[in-house]
């Protein structure tokens, strides 16, 4: 495993594992679970959300500068890590907002316990298998060139493009660790847990699915089918956004989340 580098604003130790964390804003608690491209692309959305909520945005174990315990190999493991985090910070009435891989983690948390949760936002969520065994629900990002990946994952590929050669070492390291950690957690079964689908009925808190409608890594049809498995969940699209709507449309994304948090 690559060595962790110090990147984000703060640090938390949960059951002996040190992670980077951003804590910003005041108000009702919001746990932001970033996508497979790491925490850096999420900072604009985090800042917007922090205008009306107390945002806690950890960097998942294995990503960015966060440590990775040897035993942490699956999204299921990550969900227990975050349940521990919620206990340790003694948070209540939390809105969990997850994007893609982060949404998968959020669902795995919520099917175990919603005791500390009040709401769930699933943006361009991975985590289940909708199609049949010969249908690729989720594009194989490990079999695409950088350019092809940017074109399917973004409405505007330039938003996602990074000049790796000119990045400072810490950011280049974070990008490499994100890729490695995504492989660690999402390799096979690819970007999903075959058991999760049958457990989604356990999520009985208000749930919003947000979907960047230009996502060609995971389709809107998949998102709607996933949404239909969560009791009472609502589905909304975000325009001019692809697989990472928090990165492409941070203001709109944050606005939708904050409105949802206000709903009775």
């Amino acid at each position: 495993m690559l060595q962790a580098a110090q990147v984000a604003s703060g640090s938390l130790v949960i059951e002996g594992t040190r992670i980077d964390v951003i804590e910003r804003g005041a108000g009702r608690p919001l746990l932001f679970l970033h996508a497979e491209n790491g925490i850096e692309p999420a900072v604009a959305a985090i800042d917007e959300l922090a205008k009306a909520a107390r945002v806690i945005a950890p960097t998942h174990p294995g990503f960015g500068g966060s440590a990775l315990p040897h035993a942490m190999r699956s999204v299921d493991d990550l969900s227990y890590f975050y349940l521990d985090l919620l206990d340790q910070l003694d948070l209540r009435g939390v809105t969990i907002v997850g994007v893609s891989l982060g949404a998968w983690i959020a669902a795995e948390i919520a099917v175990k316990s919603t005791a500390r949760l009040s709401r769930l936002v699933m943006a361009n969520a991975a985590g289940v298998k909708i199609g049949d065994r010969e249908t690729r629900d989720i594009a194989d990002i490990f079999a695409l060139t950088e350019q092809d990946y940017l074109e399917i994952a973004y409405c505007d590929p330039n938003v996602g493009r990074r000049d790796y050669k000119s990045l400072p070492d810490s950011e280049a390291l974070a990008a490499a660790r994100a890729r490695e950690a995504t492989a660690r957690f999402a390799w096979s079964p690819y970007f999903h847990n075959p058991r999760l689908k049958s457990r989604l009925h356990r999520i009985r808190i208000p749930t919003l699915f947000l979907w960047g409608m230009h996502d060609r890594m995971i389709s809107e049809a998949y998102g709607r089918a996933y949404c239909a498995l969560v009791p009472g969940a609502r589905f909304e699209t975000i325009e001019q956004a692809g697989h990472f709507p928090h990165q492409e449309q941070p203001v709109e994304f944050a606005g939708r989340v904050l409105v949802f948090m206000e709903h009775k």
Binding site: R73, A143, E180, A183, R184, W187, S188
Partner: protein
């Protein structure tokens, strides 16, 4: 592939068993994405039989034989090296049979690996040289094993296979990180004691150190002027562990060889006339002039 055994240099003939008819007819890559529509099975069959005829010639003239494994590729049709080993275990009598290598971290079932290699060792009457390798990054799809964990799987499979080959008196269990078995008892019992010699490949000094510690035969492939450094790293950790210098038979080196050009005309490789039927000579295509076997 050359390795020194006692005072004699052993030479292992190595062909990747390529499907060269499509080398000038591909859409950008000979590997991974080249659809198998480009493989004409009757031609592939003729090529396989030519390659195995050539191996039999090696056996007759005193060369040893090395097989390898690649996947999804026109550079190497041997996608399941155990098949070739099985053919040669029966079809040859004297040659050492080196597999370099068996990608043990990729195989879902190292017990099956132990059974296959034990059987080959027995049928060949103790001529198996057992090479364990990591595999190459762009062939992950062939097994879909998680690339991040590959080395850990490799070492657990390695430990398990050795235990399976060297346990003779009682069934054992294995509940590791990656593999679970409850009643392991491998038949037939492997012939060479304590197990066939273990080889591995490397291009790095860190892996050379790991191999030196274990006294395995270290094979370097085309490492050229960088070889000295790798051999020295091996020697250093070997001496630290075993207190004496490694014998020459711990070191192997592979470099490509080109056959002689035919006189009067462009260089074209033709299958050797020895050992081939007239039917095969007529059907086999010549190697395109501009093609080159890609590295690795």
């Amino acid at each position: 592939m050359a390795a020194e055994w006692g005072a004699t240099m052993r030479v292992y003939q190595f062909s990747e068993q390529p499907y060269y008819p499509t080398w000038n007819d591909h859409s950008g890559s000979l590997r991974v994405i080249l659809p198998n529509r480009k493989c004409d099975p009757p031609v592939a069959a003729d090529l396989f039989h030519r390659y195995y005829d050539e191996y039999q010639i090696c056996d007759e003239i005193g060369l040893d034989i090395m097989l390898n494994e690649h996947h999804q590729s026109a550079t190497c049709m041997s996608s399941a090296v155990v098949i070739g080993l099985a053919v040669l275990a029966r079809a040859t009598k004297k040659a050492r049979l080196l597999v370099l290598g068996y990608p043990i971290g990729h195989r879902p079932d190292p017990l099956r690996v132990a059974e296959e290699l034990s059987t080959i060792d027995v049928i060949s009457r103790g001529r198996l040289d057992m090479g364990f390798i990591k595999g190459i990054p762009y062939e992950i799809a062939a097994s879909n094993r998680n690339p991040v964990e590959l080395m850990e799987r490799f070492w657990e499979a390695h430990d398990f296979i050795i235990k399976a080959m060297t346990t003779h008196d009682e069934n054992f269990n294995w509940e590791g990180e990656y593999f679970h078995y409850r009643q392991v008892n491998v038949w037939p019992r492997v012939l060479q004691e304590p197990h066939p010699p273990i080889w591995s490949t490397t291009g790095s000094t860190s892996q050379a150190r790991a191999l030196g510690e274990r006294g395995y035969v270290m094979a370097t492939l085309g490492t050229g002027y960088g070889t000295r450094k790798i051999f020295d790293a091996y020697r250093k950790s070997y001496v630290a562990k075993f207190a004496n210098a490694p014998a020459a038979d711990r070191f192997a080196y592979s470099g490509p060889c080109r056959g002689p050009q035919r006189r009067g005309g462009s260089a074209q490789a033709r299958p050797s006339d020895r050992g081939l039927s007239a039917h095969q000579r007529d059907r086999l295509p010549t190697v395109p002039q501009s093609s080159r076997l890609s590295a690795g």
